[in-house]
Amino acid sequence: MQAMIWEEVKALIDDRVDDGWFSVNRRAFTDQEVFDLEMRHVFEGGWVFLGLESQVPNPHDYLTTTVGRVPVVVMRDGEGNLGAYVNACTHKGALICHKRTGNGRLHVCRYHSWSFDSSGRNVAVKAMKDGAYSDAFKAFDRNLVRLPAFANYRGFLFGSLVETCSIEEHLGEARHMLDLAADQGDEGLELVPGEVIFTYDGNWKLQLENCADAYHFTSAHPSYLQLVERRRRDEKANSVKSVWGENSAWSEMTEGVTGGTYAFDQGHVVNWQIIPLSDTVPLADRAEALAARHGAARRDWMVNMRNVTIFPNMQIAENASSQLRIIRPIAPGKTEMLTFCIAPKGESAEARRMRIRNYEDFFNPTGMATPDDTICYADCQDGHANPSQPWILGYARGMQSVQSGADAFADVLDMTPDRSQPCGSQLCDETLFHSYYRAWLNRIEAGMERSK
């Protein structure tokens, strides 16, 4: 079979917004060849999220992850410097660090005992002297392979398997959304112990879209919303109260601007809703301190619901609680989600308890909302098998009202997105997804160009 050429990939995205039209071909969700290109050029061809600095706080700490299909380890050396490396012995490729997080001054390969220190340096080859090695071998770099790009933006760690733009350029104006998360704790963010991993039978881009999709909320989650409403009315001491019970931004009864969307360069997006400060918000007991430190307007933005996607694999959802997600594509129709409760360091025990309880009910695959999303993704994946009318009609809401640049809500943050869409409760913008697919095409084009 002839390998896919750039023109065929490009034709999967029908981007003619000036004519009022944007669509994605279903093949982008189902085709193995497209998936292979995505792995190579989207995930292994530019910045991806690796983890949080707070996961590796001490000298010689490490965390393991994957970048596309490549095992990667982030290590802190004895001097406290962070580095990201391919987690593979340079001898024969065996994994060097074996746990999700751990600590090791020296990593001895379990296969042939080559050893590496926490700065990736090959410090010993077993029986080097007796190995009758050639000068060419001795001159070859045996250190762990360092990722060509690695950056720490306010505790969020990113890496790339190819030389690429600076992290500042990659994050662009979307950095303001990471700032809103990072600024919630005086000492930054941490992960609540307990990581939850699940899979779903659908393409990774279904998760990418769903996070930014206000349109599904009342359709896919009525059981959760009705339960929250029941709990609000019913004052049982051990029922978890949720912001969704206090908030009506999603209700069709609510008038005026209730939230909106921003689309950024490089494929990052946010979908947000106004959430009034109330005692169901975990930040409530520090509301005044946060306002004193960051100003009332930024504090209010911290309280607002924000579903942030940093393309291609990181999402932070802050609504009833706060979740950090890492999206890991497994196959065209299978995706793995690594999820954490993310929280400001130093919040009160009561705030933390409320955050955890809301998290479990809403976000867990054992909870009452996320499974209703992921089963929908599997349904979509089934439907996307249809080639006879290949164009997906889910990129059209808001086409006539989206504006370029900032709106009044972005101005408060001194943030200038590419596009803004202040929304009433029922607009449910879909134009923000366009950014995903433009970035997607850009990475694949650059990658195909690079590998010519």
Binding site: P193, S239, I356, M368
Partner: protein, 159 residues
């Protein structure tokens, strides 16, 4: 003191109630202020231990929270619960520990008829049982799920 025969009967009745989708009978087995806890895992080897400061997969105090979960799967409003999975609970190696505690191994076979797929959740149950009215009731149930790599959904009736 509880006897092994009593504990076995209660836990077998719980399995049967779940597999028959007789949710009301299942709820009747719990005391009002029961706790129901499925820890998450901190790392490869250690489950979380403190639900106040660490994440759990499920943590509830009070039977009304379990009743909420039952309401949700019966409501017809949950995408993930229509159609319901078929389940078969298998509980074995039951031992009485101390005055009122019971430990047992479980394997729950789950069949997803819509997607024509099977899955097995397995791990350990730990109960604290109390006498209430005419018989034994569940005061605490802890589910230590060993294979927490979850295929999209794991609801209470599959565990």
């Amino acid at each position: 003191m509880i006897t092994r025969a009593e504990a076995e009967e209660l836990i077998a009745r719980e399995s049967l109630s779940l597999d028959r989708r007789d949710w009301d009978a299942w709820l009747d087995l719990f005391v009002e202020d029961c706790s129901y806890w499925m820890p998450a895992w901190r790392d490869e080897e250690n489950p979380t231990e403190d639900p106040e400061t660490e994440l759990s997969l499920i943590w509830y105090k009070g039977k009304h929270n379990l009743a909420d979960r039952v309401w949700r799967v019966k409501s017809g409003l949950s995408v993930a619960s229509v159609p319901l999975m078929r389940t078969s609970h298998h509980v074995s190696n039951l031992l009485i520990e101390g005055e009122d505690r019971v430990a047992a191994s479980f394997a729950v076979h789950v069949h997803n008829a819509k997607r024509r797929a099977d899955h097995v959740f397995f791990g350990r149950y730990e109960y604290r049982l109390v006498r209430e009215g005419d018989g034994l009731r569940i005061a605490e149930k802890k589910i230590l799920l060993m294979n927490d790599y979850i295929p999209a959904v794991a609801d209470f009736y599959m565990l």
